[in-house]
Amino acid sequence: MLAINLQILFSGLAVGAIYALVSLGFVLIIRATNVVNFAQGDFPMVAAFAMLTLLSSLKLPYLLSFVLSLAVMAVVGVAFNYGVYYPLRNRTYLPVLISTLGAGIFMQNAVLAIFGPQPHPLPKVFRAQGFQVGGVFLDSQYLLILAVTLVAVGFQYFLFEYTLLGKKLQATSQDKDMARLVGIPVAGMITFTFVYSAALGGLAGILVAPILFVSIGMGSTIALKAFSATIIGGFGDVTGAIVGGLLLGVVEAFAAAYVSVPYKDAFAFLLVFVFLLLRPQGIFGEKVSEKA
């Protein structure tokens, strides 16, 4: 019994790690620019297709493909910054929200036009399938996901807590005008945030692609789960994004095992519904304040 639950926990954490990565990128953009990016899920999708091209079509070595795919995501991030955020940076939330929806449609359909609608498989990184520990089978790709996510979260923590750049990014999020007044190049900070966020999303896509198929729609579900994770963890909170993602993955895994497989996705949305009504600030968020 314990073994089964541990197995479920393990796969839940792995999926949750993917949600956490995408969530993190999502939250960083919100903190820096107040933009809720409804196209965040398409970053993993684009990166997965880039990997597909480099690895399967061009037959480049894995590590090189990985690095180049992240480079592609950096370019996507820059394009997003100048094409979607910058022209609308002074407008209210609605035009920006809708533009991000448009950007998502564009990315999905551009990829569709190039690759066609059928899903493609992507080979796993390790030839070994995984290994058995007691009654639990640890899949190699899942282990990779957890390991890389750990590194990414560690990097995130290091960046923000121990580097000057991280402090400048935080200052930009906390008070844009004041950051300008002390001489922080705010526009550059924002561009960096988009690039970093796209790379995080891309990382998630590259990691999860061997498990799912590489398809146009793979991003949409991940995106919605990532948003849900953000809300559950605390809208705009970095720790909340990570914790929310992991929690969601685990809840889903147990729901699928014990309640119902097809409706497991509904749990995410039900959870969000409940949180939004009872505790909109999520687990870690600050109270949604009163203003005049």
Partner: protein, 248 residues
């Protein structure tokens, strides 16, 4: 040549004209103060100087160079540090981190230099040393004000713009604050001080300007302005009702 000069500066917030042709100057090494009631345009003047806003007419020169078309990041690099109204410390960063970021306009600094300068700040603001790891939001109003000034000084500016530093602070803290201002001036800093509290400001300034609804009404030395009925009228009315002597 004055360090800072404003010439007939006009400024708008959308359709509302906030500054209606303001001319003033600040000489190097002095404290000039800009007084006036709420809504007179004092903060607008500072924001226009530091580049957060741009004038719709008129010009601003700093050390002989025209700066009124520059962006805020460029203005601070030239040597003007703006400590804004309401302090605006970075709430989620520590005292040390706030101070450190004050030097962002000076390019890459060696770690040793940076930390030495932070220590200097702690000399001038001993309370902050005690609070060096505290987060910005947890500080009291007075401590936040000290932090904001320290952060401003880290830019090693030639001109410091202080916007209503005494706002919301208890009288004792205000006194401490003004002691610090005097000390900074003694170190050679030029300061343009905006204040609602005319008495405190005039007790440290070398020259004063009085702004009223976007126009400069009075200029003079503290001696001329202190206990001047016209200054009181600018704040509290009394004997001067808005008379219809303007043509429609």
């Amino acid at each position: 040549m004055p360090l800072l000069e404003l010439h007939q500066v006009q400024s708008h917030y959308g359709a509302v004209q906030a500054l209606k042709g303001v001319s003033l100057r600040v000489e190097e090494g002095e404290i000039a103060t800009l007084l006036g009631a709420n809504g007179a345009g004092k903060t607008t003047t500072l924001r226009t100087i530091s580049g957060l806003m741009h004038p719709s007419a008129g010009g601003i020169t700093f050390a002989g160079r025209e700066i009124h078309r520059l962006r805020a990041e460029q203005v601070v690099r030239l040597g003007i540090a703006h400590v804004p109204e309401g302090r605006h410390v970075f709430p989620g960063l520590t005292v040390t981190e706030n101070i450190m970021l004050g030097a962002s306009s000076r390019g890459r600094l060696r770690r040793a230099t940076l930390f030495a300068e932070i220590e200097e700040m702690f000399e001038i603001f001993p309370d902050l040393k005690r609070l060096s790891s505290a987060l910005g939001w947890s500080l009291s109003g007075g401590q936040q004000q000290m932090l904001a000034v320290a952060r401003g000084l880290m830019a090693k500016p030639r001109l410091l713009l202080l916007d209503e530093p005494s706002l919301g602070l208890a009288p004792i803290i205000v006194q401490q604050l003004f002691e610090v201002i005097k000390r900074i001036r003694a170190l050679g800093m030029t300061i343009l001080l905006v204040e609602q509290n005319a008495h405190m400001a005039l007790s440290v300034a070398d020259r004063g300007y009085v702004l009223e609804t976007g126009k400069l009404m009075l200029e003079g030395t503290p001696a001329e302005l202190l206990d001047n009925e016209e200054v009181r009228a600018a704040y509290l009315g009394g004997g001067r009702s808005p008379s219809p002597n303007v043509t429609a």
